[in-house]
Protein backbone atom coordinates (compact mmCIF):
# COMPACT_ATOMS: atom_id res chain seq x y z
CA UNK A 1 0.00 0.00 0.00
CA UNK A 2 1.27 3.37 -1.02
CA UNK A 3 2.27 5.59 1.93
CA UNK A 4 0.26 8.77 2.38
CA UNK A 5 2.17 11.83 1.26
CA UNK A 6 3.76 13.78 4.09
CA UNK A 7 2.26 17.06 2.95
CA UNK A 8 -1.24 15.56 2.86
CA UNK A 9 -0.85 14.29 6.41
CA UNK A 10 0.32 17.70 7.62
CA UNK A 11 -2.62 19.42 5.91
CA UNK A 12 -5.07 16.93 7.39
CA UNK A 13 -3.68 17.65 10.85
CA UNK A 14 -3.97 21.39 10.24
CA UNK A 15 -7.61 21.04 9.14
CA UNK A 16 -8.38 18.94 12.17
CA UNK A 17 -6.86 21.56 14.47
CA UNK A 18 -8.83 24.34 12.75
CA UNK A 19 -12.08 22.38 13.03
CA UNK A 20 -11.45 21.78 16.71
CA UNK A 21 -10.77 25.48 17.26
CA UNK A 22 -13.96 26.45 15.45
CA UNK A 23 -15.95 23.89 17.43
CA UNK A 24 -14.59 25.19 20.73
CA UNK A 25 -15.31 28.80 19.68
CA UNK A 26 -18.87 27.88 18.87
CA UNK A 27 -19.45 26.93 22.48
CA UNK A 28 -17.77 29.99 23.93
CA UNK A 29 -19.53 33.26 24.70
CA UNK A 30 -18.19 36.11 22.58
CA UNK A 31 -18.52 39.85 23.00
CA UNK A 32 -18.34 42.49 20.31
CA UNK A 33 -15.97 45.32 21.15
CA UNK A 34 -15.03 48.61 19.51
CA UNK A 35 -11.31 49.03 20.06
CA UNK A 36 -9.96 52.59 19.99
CA UNK A 37 -6.88 54.56 20.94
CA UNK A 38 -6.23 57.56 23.13
CA UNK A 39 -2.66 58.83 22.89
CA UNK A 40 -0.58 55.60 22.98
CA UNK A 41 -3.06 53.39 24.80
CA UNK A 42 -5.81 51.05 23.67
CA UNK A 43 -9.32 51.09 25.04
CA UNK A 44 -12.57 49.35 24.11
CA UNK A 45 -16.30 49.74 24.59
CA UNK A 46 -18.97 47.07 24.08
CA UNK A 47 -20.25 47.13 20.50
CA UNK A 48 -23.79 46.97 21.84
CA UNK A 49 -23.29 50.44 23.35
CA UNK A 50 -21.90 52.07 20.19
CA UNK A 51 -24.51 52.99 17.59
CA UNK A 52 -22.35 54.65 14.97
CA UNK A 53 -18.77 55.68 14.27
CA UNK A 54 -18.34 59.03 12.51
CA UNK A 55 -15.47 60.88 10.92
CA UNK A 56 -14.54 64.11 12.69
CA UNK A 57 -16.88 66.96 11.92
CA UNK A 58 -17.37 70.52 13.10
CA UNK A 59 -18.13 70.59 16.81
CA UNK A 60 -20.02 73.69 17.93
CA UNK A 61 -19.13 74.64 21.50
CA UNK A 62 -21.92 75.33 23.97
CA UNK A 63 -21.33 77.95 26.67
CA UNK A 64 -21.92 76.98 30.27
CA UNK A 65 -21.08 73.30 29.86
CA UNK A 66 -18.27 71.46 31.66
CA UNK A 67 -14.91 71.16 29.86
CA UNK A 68 -15.51 67.47 29.33
CA UNK A 69 -18.29 68.33 26.85
CA UNK A 70 -16.65 69.60 23.68
CA UNK A 71 -19.91 70.74 22.12
CA UNK A 72 -22.57 69.51 19.75
CA UNK A 73 -22.66 68.02 16.26
CA UNK A 74 -25.37 67.59 13.67
CA UNK A 75 -25.86 63.93 12.86
CA UNK A 76 -28.28 63.76 9.94
CA UNK A 77 -30.55 66.33 11.55
CA UNK A 78 -30.19 65.07 15.12
CA UNK A 79 -28.12 67.08 17.57
CA UNK A 80 -25.69 65.05 19.65
CA UNK A 81 -23.28 66.14 22.37
CA UNK A 82 -19.61 65.20 22.06
CA UNK A 83 -17.45 64.24 25.03
CA UNK A 84 -13.69 64.43 25.22
CA UNK A 85 -12.46 60.93 26.07
CA UNK A 86 -9.14 62.49 27.06
CA UNK A 87 -10.70 64.74 29.66
CA UNK A 88 -12.96 61.93 30.83
CA UNK A 89 -9.94 59.77 31.63
CA UNK A 90 -7.71 62.60 32.84
CA UNK A 91 -5.38 62.38 29.84
CA UNK A 92 -3.56 65.14 28.04
CA UNK A 93 -5.83 66.87 25.54
CA UNK A 94 -5.39 66.15 21.85
CA UNK A 95 -6.57 68.13 18.82
CA UNK A 96 -8.70 66.06 16.41
CA UNK A 97 -6.81 64.64 13.42
CA UNK A 98 -8.11 62.94 10.26
CA UNK A 99 -7.74 59.63 12.12
CA UNK A 100 -9.97 60.81 14.97
CA UNK A 101 -13.45 59.39 15.21
CA UNK A 102 -16.64 60.27 17.05
CA UNK A 103 -18.30 57.18 18.48
CA UNK A 104 -22.02 57.70 19.08
CA UNK A 105 -22.60 55.86 22.32
CA UNK A 106 -25.95 55.07 23.94
CA UNK A 107 -27.01 53.49 27.19
CA UNK A 108 -30.26 53.56 29.14
CA UNK A 109 -31.75 56.06 26.70
CA UNK A 110 -28.90 58.57 27.08
CA UNK A 111 -26.81 59.21 23.97
CA UNK A 112 -23.62 61.13 23.27
CA UNK A 113 -20.68 61.22 20.93
CA UNK A 114 -17.24 60.39 22.33
CA UNK A 115 -14.22 61.80 20.50
CA UNK A 116 -11.31 59.33 20.34
CA UNK A 117 -7.94 59.43 18.55
CA UNK A 118 -8.71 56.47 16.27
CA UNK A 119 -10.90 53.38 16.03
CA UNK A 120 -8.67 50.42 15.29
CA UNK A 121 -11.09 47.51 15.23
CA UNK A 122 -14.67 46.36 15.64
CA UNK A 123 -14.55 42.65 16.34
CA UNK A 124 -15.82 39.78 18.45
CA UNK A 125 -13.60 38.50 21.23
CA UNK A 126 -14.03 35.48 23.53
CA UNK A 127 -15.56 36.61 26.81
CA UNK A 128 -12.93 34.51 28.56
CA UNK A 129 -10.19 36.80 27.23
CA UNK A 130 -11.53 39.65 29.36
CA UNK A 131 -10.05 39.83 32.83
CA UNK A 132 -10.99 41.94 35.84
CA UNK A 133 -9.29 45.34 35.92
CA UNK A 134 -6.06 45.67 37.86
CA UNK A 135 -6.56 46.83 41.40
CA UNK A 136 -3.95 49.59 41.09
CA UNK A 137 -6.00 51.43 38.47
CA UNK A 138 -6.12 55.19 38.86
CA UNK A 139 -9.05 56.14 41.07
CA UNK A 140 -10.24 58.75 38.53
CA UNK A 141 -11.14 56.07 36.00
CA UNK A 142 -11.63 53.02 38.23
CA UNK A 143 -15.40 53.49 38.26
CA UNK A 144 -15.57 53.51 34.46
CA UNK A 145 -13.48 50.38 33.79
CA UNK A 146 -15.03 46.94 33.57
CA UNK A 147 -12.00 44.86 32.64
CA UNK A 148 -8.94 44.47 30.49
CA UNK A 149 -7.75 42.17 27.74
CA UNK A 150 -4.87 41.61 25.40
CA UNK A 151 -5.06 42.75 21.76
CA UNK A 152 -2.17 42.66 19.31
CA UNK A 153 0.22 42.27 22.23
CA UNK A 154 -1.17 45.40 23.86
CA UNK A 155 -3.29 45.78 26.95
CA UNK A 156 -6.79 47.07 26.21
CA UNK A 157 -8.78 48.75 28.96
CA UNK A 158 -12.50 48.06 28.71
CA UNK A 159 -14.79 50.99 29.48
CA UNK A 160 -18.48 50.95 30.23
CA UNK A 161 -20.54 53.48 28.28
CA UNK A 162 -23.33 53.05 30.82
CA UNK A 163 -21.00 54.11 33.61
CA UNK A 164 -19.54 57.02 31.61
CA UNK A 165 -22.90 58.48 30.65
CA UNK A 166 -24.40 57.64 34.03
CA UNK A 167 -21.64 59.59 35.77
CA UNK A 168 -22.36 62.67 33.66
CA UNK A 169 -26.12 62.54 33.98
CA UNK A 170 -26.02 62.04 37.76
Amino acid sequence: MKAEKKSARILAQARKRRDEELASQGDEERVQLVVFTLLDDYYACPGTEIREILHPTKIASVPGTPDIILGIINVKGDIESVLSAHKLLGLQDQQPTPRSRIMIAESHGVRSGILVDSVTDVAEFPASSIHPPISTLDSSIKDLVTGEMSYEQRTVTLLSVAKILGKLVA
Binding site: V62, P63, G64, D67, I69, I79, V169
Partner: protein, 166 residues
Protein backbone atom coordinates in the same frame (compact mmCIF):
# COMPACT_ATOMS: atom_id res chain seq x y z
CA UNK B 1 -43.72 83.70 16.97
CA UNK B 2 -46.11 82.68 14.24
CA UNK B 3 -49.03 80.66 15.69
CA UNK B 4 -51.67 78.59 13.91
CA UNK B 5 -54.67 76.73 15.34
CA UNK B 6 -54.65 72.98 15.69
CA UNK B 7 -57.71 70.69 15.72
CA UNK B 8 -58.07 70.79 19.52
CA UNK B 9 -58.00 74.57 19.56
CA UNK B 10 -54.47 74.97 20.96
CA UNK B 11 -52.25 77.32 19.10
CA UNK B 12 -49.35 75.53 17.54
CA UNK B 13 -46.31 77.66 16.97
CA UNK B 14 -45.04 76.96 13.51
CA UNK B 15 -42.45 79.64 13.07
CA UNK B 16 -40.10 81.72 15.19
CA UNK B 17 -38.44 84.95 14.14
CA UNK B 18 -34.85 84.49 15.26
CA UNK B 19 -32.19 87.15 15.63
CA UNK B 20 -28.87 85.46 14.90
CA UNK B 21 -25.50 86.68 16.11
CA UNK B 22 -22.23 85.06 16.98
CA UNK B 23 -19.82 85.66 19.78
CA UNK B 24 -16.31 84.23 19.41
CA UNK B 25 -17.53 81.78 16.77
CA UNK B 26 -20.48 80.44 18.76
CA UNK B 27 -23.69 81.05 16.85
CA UNK B 28 -26.60 82.10 19.04
CA UNK B 29 -30.21 82.93 18.28
CA UNK B 30 -32.91 84.70 20.25
CA UNK B 31 -36.63 85.12 19.69
CA UNK B 32 -36.81 88.59 18.17
CA UNK B 33 -40.11 89.22 19.97
CA UNK B 34 -38.38 89.04 23.35
CA UNK B 35 -36.34 92.16 22.62
CA UNK B 36 -38.05 95.55 22.61
CA UNK B 37 -35.46 97.09 20.36
CA UNK B 38 -31.76 97.23 19.65
CA UNK B 39 -29.45 100.16 20.34
CA UNK B 40 -25.80 100.75 19.83
CA UNK B 41 -23.80 100.62 23.03
CA UNK B 42 -23.11 104.36 23.18
CA UNK B 43 -26.80 105.20 23.02
CA UNK B 44 -27.66 102.61 25.67
CA UNK B 45 -25.06 104.02 28.02
CA UNK B 46 -26.12 107.60 27.39
CA UNK B 47 -29.65 106.60 28.32
CA UNK B 48 -28.30 105.17 31.62
CA UNK B 49 -29.54 101.70 30.79
CA UNK B 50 -28.02 98.88 32.82
CA UNK B 51 -26.19 96.69 30.36
CA UNK B 52 -25.34 93.08 31.13
CA UNK B 53 -22.95 91.27 28.85
CA UNK B 54 -24.18 88.16 27.11
CA UNK B 55 -21.04 86.12 27.59
CA UNK B 56 -21.19 86.42 31.38
CA UNK B 57 -24.77 85.27 31.51
CA UNK B 58 -24.06 82.06 29.61
CA UNK B 59 -20.54 81.36 30.97
CA UNK B 60 -18.35 81.44 27.88
CA UNK B 61 -15.17 79.43 28.29
CA UNK B 62 -12.83 81.91 26.60
CA UNK B 63 -10.66 84.09 28.83
CA UNK B 64 -11.23 87.17 26.72
CA UNK B 65 -14.34 87.94 24.72
CA UNK B 66 -14.33 90.29 21.78
CA UNK B 67 -17.50 91.99 20.62
CA UNK B 68 -16.68 93.10 17.08
CA UNK B 69 -19.63 95.47 16.76
CA UNK B 70 -21.28 95.77 20.19
CA UNK B 71 -25.03 96.22 20.25
CA UNK B 72 -27.52 96.27 23.11
CA UNK B 73 -30.84 94.46 23.14
CA UNK B 74 -33.42 96.10 25.37
CA UNK B 75 -35.36 93.54 27.36
CA UNK B 76 -38.31 94.37 29.54
CA UNK B 77 -38.76 92.41 32.74
CA UNK B 78 -40.46 92.97 36.09
CA UNK B 79 -37.89 95.54 37.17
CA UNK B 80 -38.07 97.62 34.02
CA UNK B 81 -35.86 97.64 30.99
CA UNK B 82 -32.37 96.19 31.01
CA UNK B 83 -29.80 95.93 28.26
CA UNK B 84 -28.00 92.86 27.04
CA UNK B 85 -24.71 93.33 25.24
CA UNK B 86 -24.40 91.18 22.12
CA UNK B 87 -22.51 91.42 18.86
CA UNK B 88 -24.11 92.91 15.76
CA UNK B 89 -26.75 90.41 14.58
CA UNK B 90 -25.89 88.97 11.21
CA UNK B 91 -29.40 87.93 10.27
CA UNK B 92 -33.04 87.76 11.23
CA UNK B 93 -34.62 84.60 9.91
CA UNK B 94 -37.95 82.86 10.18
CA UNK B 95 -37.21 79.43 11.60
CA UNK B 96 -39.79 76.70 11.30
CA UNK B 97 -40.29 75.14 14.71
CA UNK B 98 -40.04 71.65 13.26
CA UNK B 99 -36.39 72.40 12.55
CA UNK B 100 -35.73 73.09 16.24
CA UNK B 101 -34.19 70.28 18.26
CA UNK B 102 -33.94 69.89 22.03
CA UNK B 103 -30.53 70.03 23.65
CA UNK B 104 -28.82 66.64 23.90
CA UNK B 105 -29.40 64.75 27.18
CA UNK B 106 -26.01 65.52 28.66
CA UNK B 107 -26.24 69.24 28.02
CA UNK B 108 -29.61 69.42 29.66
CA UNK B 109 -28.18 67.60 32.67
CA UNK B 110 -24.93 69.47 33.06
CA UNK B 111 -25.40 72.89 31.49
CA UNK B 112 -25.07 75.84 33.84
CA UNK B 113 -27.16 78.07 31.65
CA UNK B 114 -30.77 76.97 31.52
CA UNK B 115 -31.45 79.91 29.22
CA UNK B 116 -30.13 77.86 26.27
CA UNK B 117 -33.20 75.85 25.42
CA UNK B 118 -32.67 74.29 22.00
CA UNK B 119 -30.84 74.15 18.70
CA UNK B 120 -32.20 75.44 15.42
CA UNK B 121 -30.81 74.15 12.17
CA UNK B 122 -30.53 77.14 9.90
CA UNK B 123 -29.05 76.36 6.49
CA UNK B 124 -27.25 73.34 7.99
CA UNK B 125 -25.76 75.55 10.70
CA UNK B 126 -26.44 74.86 14.37
CA UNK B 127 -27.84 77.91 16.17
CA UNK B 128 -28.09 77.79 19.98
CA UNK B 129 -31.43 79.26 21.00
CA UNK B 130 -31.41 81.45 24.09
CA UNK B 131 -34.45 82.59 26.05
CA UNK B 132 -33.79 86.22 26.90
CA UNK B 133 -36.25 86.33 29.77
CA UNK B 134 -34.70 83.27 31.44
CA UNK B 135 -31.28 84.76 30.83
CA UNK B 136 -32.14 88.06 32.49
CA UNK B 137 -34.11 86.41 35.29
CA UNK B 138 -30.98 84.75 36.63
CA UNK B 139 -28.53 87.37 35.45
CA UNK B 140 -25.09 87.62 36.90
CA UNK B 141 -24.19 91.03 38.21
CA UNK B 142 -20.79 92.49 38.87
CA UNK B 143 -19.30 92.10 42.38
CA UNK B 144 -20.42 95.62 43.21
CA UNK B 145 -24.01 94.57 42.61
CA UNK B 146 -24.49 96.47 39.37
CA UNK B 147 -24.50 95.66 35.68
CA UNK B 148 -21.42 94.64 33.72
CA UNK B 149 -21.20 97.97 31.93
CA UNK B 150 -22.27 101.20 33.49
CA UNK B 151 -23.45 104.33 31.74
CA UNK B 152 -21.09 106.32 33.94
CA UNK B 153 -18.02 104.42 32.80
CA UNK B 154 -16.20 107.04 30.76
CA UNK B 155 -13.71 104.69 29.10
CA UNK B 156 -16.46 102.37 27.96
CA UNK B 157 -18.43 105.30 26.60
CA UNK B 158 -15.40 106.41 24.66
CA UNK B 159 -14.91 103.01 23.06
CA UNK B 160 -18.58 102.11 22.71
CA UNK B 161 -19.63 101.09 19.19
CA UNK B 162 -16.10 100.09 18.34
CA UNK B 163 -14.72 96.66 19.02
CA UNK B 164 -15.15 95.84 22.70
CA UNK B 165 -12.80 93.47 24.48
CA UNK B 166 -13.92 92.24 27.90
Amino acid sequence: MEPCSSENGDETIVELKVLIFDIMGTVMGVDAEQAERMLDLREALERQISVYSFHEQVSFRADRIIYQEPRVLLIRDGEGVNGLLIDQPRDIVNVRTDSIRPLPDLLGASGESRAIWGVALVKEEMVLLVDLHDLMACRIVEPGGGPAISGTDGDTRQTANRMLMV
